[in-house]
């Protein structure tokens, strides 16, 4: 479609920028793209920015990472350190560790870049996680965005993989012990575990190959896959257009917000610099991964408080929580002459497996239960989907228990409690924590919905107390304007969908199960306020206030007339 515009010789751009644009456009045909994107509308909300934080962190990772590759040498050959850090002078270490130290101590700005890179990595995975929580709790994964949710889940896994492969590269004591734990977990895999371990490490642990292999994965394969997934992710965002929160003027057929040019582009572009600035501040003032403290990797020493970076923490925590010999029963079993290391396999694979399986399939699970196959572009406020919110909170609590377990020793030392007791409590919370989280979150969501109803019907509490002639004190409620009210009442409130017979007139067992889950999902609900209820409540509210002012008229009548509808 750009060809048509370039074919007109009469067109002369007014500004210099316009002329340059025209020059480029007439050669590559960008008019169509610009026409499509130039004024594309993006809704504005702070919780929509986490995806951008992730994207920008990734860009910063590419920039700082490229710098680091110029100085880092992934060789595990032995050398003796001869750099600027005195407490390691002359110590035997690998070239990889020595070059990491040189980056930190002998290259101007090297330490800064290392810290930028590592802080950006932690922020990258954290913002991906928060972004996914936002998408989950607002129901943004529903049709037509299920596939983009899956791409997002893949991106989370890739982000963790990128982080872990990078964490091990300096070949320091901390990450070396982390690798050793990975090796132990791999060896526990039935049948092929030993082979995978030998293939990964090029022989016995630690060998001399692992760092360069991880390096290749870290700087080439994983970032390439992340980039590919980001492209797919953003492409689908463009196709779907952004979701929006419910509110006046917003529905499933439109998107309300600011046009890309200039406001949104300026904000989003400016935000890149803000994210960069915040990461730079962290790198300026807060040490991260002080490899010089840990020393070179050596299989004999270990440091207290050996933990992985936060995103692997939940697996490490699960490993800690699993009892090896509960009540004297050995979890590790020898069957048919082969070892089944369940005390490692179960905690390493099961929680992560459950978490990722549910995460990947959740859009389809919910779609099956609710039979909701419509397109959704207006988000749910978390309170307006209480069961989904409760499921999300239960999952988050479960994750957090494992996460906390990864720091059980630090909890023990910092709160002066017994390490063993911390473990016992977390083992109990592993099972009951999600249940408590589910119940509490659901009750809170329902309570907030009732509060919304209350405000929609009776207005906002003003804090002004009025005394009525007969001595009663009441608080004056200020009515909401219709825009604010619509925000509180304009949401969908699906209901229980009973079992439906199929075409043969039979209610299948699967359908019964679905109906049961549907009841569980939607049984407790607070319906949005209706205009009739408002009218009734309005009268009710005014009755008191108007009476106080001594000129009640039709409001009183309205209240009388619809008393049965209100309380």
């Amino acid at each position: 479609m750009s060809a048509a515009s370039t074919a007109e010789p009469a067109f002369v751009a007014k500004t210099k920028t316009g002329r340059i644009t025209d020059f480029v456009d007439s050669r590559v045909g960008g008019s169509g793209i610009l026409r499509e994107f130039g004024r594309k509308v993006f809704p504005d909300h702070w919780s929509f920015m986490f995806g951008e934080v992730a994207l920008y962190s990734f860009v910063i990772l590419l920039l700082s990472g490229t710098f680091l590759t110029f100085f880092f040498d992934p060789s595990m050959a032995e050398t003796h350190y001869d750099g600027g850090y005195v407490p390691l002078k002359g110590v035997e270490m690998s070239v990889a560790y020595s070059s990491s130290l040189n980056i930190s101590f002998d290259i101007r700005g090297g330490l800064f870049m290392r810290q930028v890179h590592h802080w950006a990595a932690l922020l990258f995975v954290a913002s991906v996680a928060v972004h996914m929580l936002r998408v989950f709790f607002t129901g943004a994964f529903r049709r037509p965005r299920e596939m983009n949710w899956v791409v997002g889940c893949v991106l989370l896994i890739l982000a963790m993989a990128a982080g872990f492969t990078g964490y091990s590269l300096p070949d320091d004591l901390l990450s070396g012990n982390g690798l050793r734990i990975i090796d132990g977990v791999i060896k526990s895999i039935p049948v092929i575990g030993t082979y995978i371990s030998f293939f990964l490490f090029g022989g016995e642990f630690p060998g001399t190959a692992i760092i360069s292999r991880l390096y290749m994965l870290h700087i080439l394969l994983v970032p390439a896959l992340i980039l590919l997934m980001i492209v797919m992710h953003l492409f689908m965002v463009v196709v779907h257009k952004h979701t929006q929160y419910p509110g006046p003027g917003r529905n499933d057929n439109n998107v309300v917000g600011y046009p890309l040019g200039p406001v949104y582009a300026a904000k989003a572009g400016g935000f890149f610099f803000i994210v960069f600035g915040v990461i730079a501040l962290m790198a300026a003032f807060f040490t991260i991964n002080p490899i010089w403290n840990y020393g070179p990797y050596d299989p004999s020493p270990v440091s207290a408080g050996t933990q992985p970076d936060w995103y692997i923490g939940f697996v490490d925590g699960a490993l800690r929580l699993m009892p090896g010999n509960p009540y004297g029963w050995h979890v590790e079993q020898v069957w048919f002459g082969h070892v089944f290391t369940f005390n490692v396999l179960l905690p390493a694979l099961v929680p992560a497996g459950i978490l990722f399986t549910v995460m990947f399939t959740y859009p389809w699970i919910e779609r099956w239960i609710t039979k909701d196959d419509r397109e959704h572009h207006v988000l749910d406020r978390p309170r307006n989907a209480p069961t989904r919110t409760a499921i999300g909170v239960a999952g988050f609590v479960w994750y957090s228990v494992m996460w906390a377990a990864a720091g059980s020793d630090l909890i023990a030392t910092h709160f002066h409690v017994s390490l063993n007791d911390v473990t016992y409590w977390l083992r109990a919370l592993f099972f009951i924590g999600p249940v408590i989280g589910f119940i509490v979150a659901k009750r809170v969501a329902l309570a907030l919905q009732r509060k919304d109803r209350e405000i929609a019907l009776h207005g906002r509490e003003t804090g002004r107390i009025v005394r009525l002639p007969h001595g009663e004190f009441i608080e004056v409620h200020a009515p909401l304007d219709e825009y604010k009210r619509y925000k509180l009442v304009g949401f969908e409130s699906p209901q229980v969908l009973p079992a439906v017979p199929n075409e043969h007139g039979v209610v299948t067992r699967k359908e019964k199960r679905r109906a049961f889950l549907s009841r569980w999902f939607f049984e407790d609900r607070v319906a949005p306020a209706t205009p009739a209820e408002l009218e009734a409540a309005h009268g009710h509210g005014h009755e008191a206030v108007e009476a106080a002012h001594g000129h009640g008229h039709e409001a009183v009548e309205a209240a009388e007339g619809s008393k049965s509808l209100t309380h």
């Binding site: 101007r108 090796d183 004999s300 800690r320 490692v344 219709e482 825009y483």
Partner: protein, 356 residues
């Protein structure tokens, strides 16, 4: 669960009363009327905002200068102190932060205060149109038809077979990533070489240890004699062979049958590699005689031959049988009687072959 609709008692049962969705709903009032900003109405405020944006960009320039000055003014040499590096790191960071935040906040402030902030509504379009779908289906049908793949099952089936097999070489070619494990995990350097028993030596310097050096309450971190002289695979051997040597009151040790001679006067040596996932179990509590792994908190009781008393490990730590040679130095009488470290699939058969 009852009724959450409004709490009034005259509704009973679930709220899902008939035709809930048909209940009259609030009309969408549409996008709220646009509210003008100060800068839209007051030219002074607009001018002020303009100056603020310029100031923020100015701060960015200052930040860039701070970075450059720091980079060239503070040089790092072999003698530069930690304080110098810290100062340089902090100044480079401040410079970058100012440079970036100045631009970022400047642009955002510009957009917020001065660019038009009318909320607009854009129609969403269907993701696909029926017309397109039908055309696409027709095209695909035509393509499939033209290949004739449906009419020629021989071609289809052989192609499927070929494509299914083709990736196998891509997997097989990774076969040389590492050697076969064989029974490498079952043996360590401690096995006597040419009939000569290996001495227990100190980690990291490799000096031999006399039995009399090990006083009650001591803990020695031990490597086998000759480890430091290895030309190749030093860390691989060390990863299996490291041992913790402790001495306690002989009365508090309770050796099982066949292991009475594995210690010497209350001196015992146990593998330092955790049987859980392989961290060094190096924390020795000399009064409780517990060994604790700092990674996952598996706890082993030295007085019960390192039985697991807490945590995720399932097997006791392997014991290294030791004795004293003619010169009074501690030596290993044999290799471990089981593979050390984390469990693996073939571990049980390895243990049996080691002991046979």
């Amino acid at each position: 669960m009852g009724n959450h609709s409004d709490g009034s008692p005259n509704h009973s049962g679930t709220v899902a009363t008939a035709g809930q969705n048909e209940v009259e709903r609030f009309q969408d009032p549409g996008i709220p009327p646009h509210r003008l900003r100060l800068a839209d109405t007051d030219p002074k405020a607009a001018k002020r905002a303009e100056r603020q944006v310029a100031l923020l960009f100015g701060i960015s320039v200052v930040g860039t200068l701070i970075f450059l000055v720091t980079y060239f003014a503070i040089d790092l040499g072999d003698d530069s102190s930690i304080a110098t590096i810290r100062l340089q790191n902090a100044l480079l960071g401040i410079g970058t932060a100012f440079a970036m935040l100045g631009i970022g906040t400047g642009i955002v402030h510009w957009a917020k205060a001065l660019m038009p902030d009318h909320e607009v509504s854009e129609e969403r379009h269907a993701i696909r149109y029926e017309e397109d779908r039908q055309a696409a289906v027709r095209i695909v049908d035509d393509i499939v038809e033209e290949t004739g793949i449906k009419r020629r099952p021989l071609i289809r089936n052989t192609l499927l077979g070929a494509v299914a097999l083709a990736p196998l070489p891509a997997i097989a070619i990774f076969g040389d990533l590492g050697p076969r494990p064989d029974d490498k995990l079952a043996h360590t350097m401690w096995a006597p070489q040419d009939g000569k028993r290996k001495r227990l030596t100190r980690d990291p310097d490799g000096t031999p240890i006399k039995a009399s050096d090990v006083t009650i309450g001591s803990a020695f971190h031990v490597i086998p004699e000759g480890l430091n002289e290895l030309q190749e695979g030093k860390l691989n051997e060390k990863a299996k062979a490291v041992v913790l040597l402790m001495r306690l009151d002989p009365a508090s040790l309770n050796p099982s049958k066949g292991r009475e001679e594995w210690g010497y006067n209350g001196i015992v040596a146990y593998s330092k590699i955790c049987t859980h996932v392989g961290c060094p179990v190096a924390l020795y509590e000399q009064q409780t005689h517990h060994l604790l792994c700092p990674c996952h908190q598996s706890t082993f009781d030295l007085t019960q031959e390192c039985k697991v008393i807490f945590g995720p490990a399932s097997r006791p730590l392997p014991q290294l049988p030791i004795a004293v040679d003619d010169e009074g130095y501690l030596v290993a009488t044999s290799d471990f009687h089981e593979p050390v470290g984390p469990s693996y699939w073939e571990r049980d058969s390895h243990e049996r072959s080691v002991n046979s």
